[in-house]
């Protein structure tokens, strides 16, 4: 049987340890092609490059590189990487697109700002089953190995069952040793936001500037959410959609006096 073709991308850049770990995990499952940003793209949301050009470079990065792993860097955003990969770089439609492993959580409202998930969503829009993986550890030297078996299990099930049309998976992994991870929970996105704080400073030439900082604020006590799962030692899987219609609100707005 032909091995499945798996497109790997991320938002932390092609050299990020999280991507290198994911490549090593999926190499055991399928034929792998990497198309990833040549520089960090965290917080890029679903940005695409419209008014600028894109560069792409074929490269070899892994020490254990074998002939079957083809890698490309791209000067664009995560969504650009997926578009360029699908349209120009891959010789056939991939069976799956995986994005990550992100250094840091993309649970709850963070999905909105996430470059990792934007890549997965872009693949989903183009009809490719897709999964974004994130580890709740922002460190560059984070340990991705405890996630290995869980990630491979989720990928194998996705390849076997398919993912419903219009849905991509947002997988977050708690920062725990493998034996302390209690399992995998299918969840909804918790209601939360960021309480922003701007750190106002003055440049050496006297110009005022700001750094965006903030504190995460969970507004949801549900036990069926991704935040609950992660806080209780589970890996969270949120089926995520790109039809943003708030169907329940159509009736309400229909009662407005319009026209």
């Amino acid at each position: 049987m032909k091995k499945p073709l798996i497109l790997v991308t991320n938002d932390d850049g092609i050299t990020a340890p999280g991507l290198r770990a994911l490549v090593s995990f999926v190499k055991e499952i399928g034929e792998v092609v990497v198309v990833a940003p040549d520089s960090p793209q965290s917080g890029m949301g679903h940005a695409i490059t419209i008014d600028n050009l894109l560069y792409s470079k074929k490269m070899t990065l892994d020490l254990d590189q074998d002939e079957s792993t083809v890698e490309y860097s791209c000067s664009g955003t995560p969504a650009d990487c997926v578009k360029l990969g699908l349209q120009e770089l891959l010789d056939r439609k991939p069976d799956l697109c995986v994005s990550g492993i992100n250094h840091g959580s993309n649970s709850s409202i963070n999905v909105i700002y996430s470059g990792t998930m934007s890549a997965a969503i872009e693949a989903g829009i183009e009809g490719i089953p897709a999964i974004g993986f994130s580890l709740c550890d922002y460190k560059w030297e984070a340990d991705f190995s405890p996630a290995k078996n869980f990630i491979q299990q989720i990928i194998r099930e996705a390849l076997e069952n398919g993912i419903p049309t219009g849905v991509v998976l947002n997988v977050n992994i708690p920062k725990l040793e493998a034996k302390k991870i209690k399992g995998i929970k299918i969840c909804r996105q918790a209601r939360a936001n960021w309480k922003e704080k701007f750190d106002k400073r003055t440049s050496p030439t006297g110009k005022e500037y700001y750094w965006l900082t903030g504190e995460f604020e969970l507004l949801d006590k549900g036990e069926d959410t991704d935040e609950w799962a992660l806080a209780n030692g589970f890996i969270s899987v949120v089926p995520t959609q790109f039809d943003l219609t708030a169907h329940h609100a159509i009736q309400t707005i229909n009662n407005w006096k319009l026209n």
Copy 2:
């Protein structure tokens, strides 16, 4: 009665005619503060500025500028503008945030890539009723005047009725004379995507590069969609949410063999 405070932003930049038109429309309704990007941010999706600093400048732009209109440019993305406006620049919580008027459609799947809508969504996340407006005309010199009465009507209804929690409005306006606009329809987001094409070129120094181009592909024949409304002379209003959970898929994924 105190006039409502309305935060105006966009993604085409603070000098864009679409924003200048929107400012003139909302000045007749409330007290206006503008916080908008200092350069075009189209296609930025929900990007935020994490690893760089932000500049903001208080400025005066309108010829008919009166004391009540305060304007700030910001070096960041549309979502940054809203965060900075709400947290640092405005002296109280606005009653409404409006974004646009975008030069070009943000209907159907375009909502995902839209900087205009990301600003509105950011305000929605922070609990501010919010609406994104887009005109289906990409030209810089597009005529925004036919939209005036419709936009004011939608804004007045939003201020009077409020917008359901967790919902922001995505309003698209067809490129038509006012008398040819048939009315306003509350819609769902049409299923569609972009068929990408990359235009491959060679730089003067011999380096290959790509331009992202593409053709819009409507995959939805429903008559309750935004695309149908626009094609038939209506203004489309899609209630849009930032809970991306595909609730219908939770049961399906729960049947996977995981753990």
